[in-house]
């Protein structure tokens, strides 16, 4: 992993897109760790009874995918400080997710090199399934 430094970034810089194609197998593995009974996340039958076409990803699974855009970008010495994400649309296995970010602010606060970003997940129709903001601390050169 390469390291990005605070001095290298500025407002308006874009990061990504990182493309993710979550599969049914990955969702099943995820649900195996989370556990719980039949739900819209692990049973097509339950999902259909709720008016969905089939199983959907838990919102926090999609958000965890979005988080990877930041953890891969920040490098080993960067730190993800906070995230605020709104869940707007559900995503399903087989969807193509484009994870994107844009830097909206850079400032030094309490000795921390804070980079604030808008982050979002776009589906294959160009709709924003999740969007929010994140703060990443980057090292200085």
């Amino acid at each position: 992993m390469t390291q990005v430094y605070f001095e290298d970034v500025s407002m308006g810089d874009e990061i990504g897109p990182m493309i993710k194609n979550p599969t049914r197998e990955q969702l099943a593995t995820f649900m195996g760790v989370w556990g719980g009974g039949p739900s819209r996340f692990n049973s097509d039958e339950v999902a259909r009874s709720e008016g969905l076409t089939g199983v959907i990803l838990p919102g926090h699974m999609s958000m965890a995918l979005l988080t990877q855009l930041l953890t891969e970008w920040k490098g080993p010495s960067g730190r993800l400080k906070s995230m605020e994400v709104n869940f707007r649309r559900y995503l399903q296995p087989g969807d193509t997710l484009a994870l994107k970010g844009v830097i909206t602010d850079t400032e030094v606060v309490d000795g921390e090199n804070r980079v604030t970003l808008d982050v979002y997940i776009e589906n294959q129709k160009g709709e924003r399934a999740q969007q929010g903001t994140a703060v990443v601390i980057l090292p200085s050169k």
């Binding site: 990955q26 838990p58 699974m61 995918l65 988080t67 906070s82 869940f87 999740q130």
Partner: protein
Amino acid sequence: MADAEIDVTDTIDFDRSVLGVEVDVGSAEVTAEQIIAYSKALGETNPLHLDEEAAKAGPYGAVIAPPLFYNVLRVGAGPDPKVNFGTTGFDAGQHVEFFEPIKAGETIHARAKVHDVYAKTGRTGTMVFAVRRTTFSNQDGELKVVLDRINVRRDIRQ
């Protein structure tokens, strides 16, 4: 739009006595196997999440969990504000602050409270927001994550 919304919290029926009351909602042991399976499900590539040998030689001395791993810990939800409104509820998002990473071998303790309940009426009707705050720490009291989970209730007949 925000400027057209009216705060109607006072008109909403919910249990105000639970506001701000923090309770223990349980603890969960974290294994390397859980973290590795979770990381594979997300298509993670960082060896610190996937490879026990590499992680042991790394800065944390154990496999560390990706930032959102706290979501799969089986702990309780905490006090219920019993919002008596609407026909449907959904998970509207999370606000989360990260401290130290969760490591394999730790026991994570969670405490939760109803942080806020508020209601707004706007162009698309009334929505009631319940914000539940959960604080995750390890067995030594080391702070891991502070999570605000936002649930929205609305009346789809409006």
